[in-house]
Symmetry: C2
Subunit: 373 residues, 2 copies
């Protein structure tokens, strides 16, 4: 792992140099995890552009609870043990001669910035305090393209979700009379038993008319024969999130159900087919959306087509009508069109995939044929 | 619930008036939940000091995904549906004549503040933009004292943890040969089955020498006869977190194990006895710490005595040598001294309790006798 995280820090180092910075102070905890491998709850990282034996390079800060863990997870970065990680790293940056320090203005709070400014002024001891400049979402942009370790974690996270659903279906746990809450809890418990650290998000189980609510919270609604059952869930493995939606029918599927299912399946296939290196995210959304609009259901698809997925369940790139940017090889994204008929029911079909130079790699392998249980 | 949240907003309204503010913009999502009952992932609240029929009072902002949910959970606050909740509420505040707006500088990011300043300047349209002033942790200070609904949620969260552990022990799941990871996952799954939304935090299962690591992450270490088994875990119910640690021995307890167990139990009892309205948090820590120091183990107790618990697993008040402030009736706190002998094993005993005018109310009811399984 540490070779991988060192390579990630080097990419950020290059970005920092290009922006005329001497160092970058990384405070977003997921960005710190990405760049170091550290999984604790308190940590910050200073990535320095210049590195020499006299002034060794990067510094990782955490508190005394994590001294042992930091030694194991971050063996290749000099450790600073201090409860107040950001001031400690800022003082170290000044001592090592940083004149212009990047920081994450989307993560650091107003109080955090004021504290940092005070520390830098004190550390400069009457001299010129270093200048602070936002690096914006530089690390998030880097995280949008996954490396092999990340793709492997996503594969495992998707496999856990696939298997949990397969086991529940095989055991007859998805049957009339059970409640959404019961099914959701069993799906969560099964993912944990299969090695997930946690569900990726609050599992959505939506039966009957509830399936027409895009983000329904499971409640005591009972599953009934002839109803749609929409399951949107995922597993977290090594910090990486899978995301999958399948919509089933219990008992006999009516014609209207088969119709909107086929429509959403065709839209989803079109969206997957549009995942190509260099594709504009708005065009990818349109490829799937056009299928639904052409069938007269445009108003029944009120959300974007998909989103990046990784250490966060929603991360760059966004794939939607308001998105911007192009896909790159190694991006992990969801494709999840839906058609929701208020009061009746809705269908969403969602996969997690990796963009490649060839066809996208499908990570969520559960069948997308209309499953009638 | 909505009468309760209205009362909470009125307390904040009084704080705002005392500080010369016309309104407070609440961005911290847990504070928004506390003040409205909203459990979604995007929401902000504007609490206005002045309220009249012409200019109705508070405003709650969220995006279109949550329109239905907001109607159910926040029926008594005017709804503003906008993906960008903070700008939308800021514009509304200007329209309603706010001249001085409080904001949460410990929560709002630097980018968020800059965006807010731009919105206020635009909304003032050439006139004087409202002034922004930090309210610091005003809502967190209010949250430190729990009302009856909150205490009831904490009771249920503690009961789930108690029952999960009792079931595992009764079924023989805590036996030599099992791994820490297996025990942790079963504890988590059991809490979910008993109605928890999630574990309160990453469950700690530490066997043998691992029990000497205060915050050990469960791994493939096997439980062995004669070893300590330290379990630190909790359940989240209605957003409220329980927190409990118990240390057991598998098989026969050695004299040294009984000795440090008795010492920690005596320290923990002293800490619980010191929980009184008006008590200084440093003195509460000292009451428990002195017992351990007197036995010559002061260096083996390297953390604070406890912390507040509620919508967050760690919240105000902190109870430790670096703490400040006094206890008040209705505060929910943990008392969790520990003695850790590196390479051998450690004991921590932790309860969640409510400070009252009388003796504290114990919420975690699992026995603290040394359990030898």
């Amino acid at each position: 792992m540490s070779g991988r995280t060192a390579a990630r820090r080097d990419v950020l180092r290059t970005t920092a140099a290009e922006r005329g910075l001497d160092a970058v102070l990384v405070t977003n905890l997921l960005n710190v995890r990405y760049l170091t491998g550290f999984t604790g709850s308190n940590g910050a990282l200073l990535v320095r552009v210049e590195s020499s034996p006299a002034h060794p390079g990067d510094l990782f800060g955490t508190d005394g609870r994590y001294t042992t863990q930091a030694g194991v997870q971050v063996p290749d970065v000099e450790l600073v043990v201090d409860r107040a990680t950001v001031p400690a790293l800022a003082r170290a940056a000044v001592r090592r001669g940083a004149g212009r320090i990047g920081y994450e203005s989307h993560d650091l709070t107003v109080d955090g910035l004021h504290g940092l400014e005070r520390v830098l002024a004190d550390a400069a001891a009457g001299g010129t305090a270093p200048e602070l400049a936002s690096v914006r979402r530089a690390v998030e942009a880097q995280r949008a393209v996954k490396d092999d370790d990340e793709i492997e974690a996503l594969r495992r996270a998707c496999a856990v979700a696939d298997q949990a659903l397969a086991e529940l279906a095989a055991e007859g746990a998805l049957r009339p009379g059970r409640t959404e809450l019961e099914v959701g809890r069993e799906l969560d418990a099964r993912m944990l038993a299969l090695g997930a650290e946690a569900p990726s998000f609050e599992t959505i189980v939506a039966a009957g008319a509830n399936s027409a609510i895009p983000h329904h919270r499971p409640d005591r609604t009972e599953l009934r024969a002839g109803d749609f059952l929409k399951l949107d869930f995922g597993a977290t493995v090594d910090g990486y999130h899978s995301d999958m939606t399948r919509t089933l029918v219990l008992g006999h599927a009516a014609d209207w159900q088969r119709e909107i299912y086929s429509l959403v399946a065709a839209s989803q296939a079109a969206g997957r087919a549009a995942l190509a290196v260099g594709a504009d995210v708005v065009a990818v959304d349109a490829a799937a959306r056009d299928v639904i609009v052409a069938a007269g259901h445009g108003d029944h698809f009120p959300h974007g087509l998909g989103h990046g997925v990784g250490l966060e369940i929603h991360e760059a790139p966004g794939i939607g009508q308001q998105g911007a940017g192009r896909l790159a090889a190694g991006m992990a994204v969801t494709v999840e069109p839906g058609v929701y008929l208020p009061g009746h029911g809705g269908v969403r079909i969602e996969d997690t995939l990796i963009v490649t130079d060839d066809a996208p790699e499908l990570l969520t392998l559960t069948s997308k044929e209309l499953l009638v249980l």
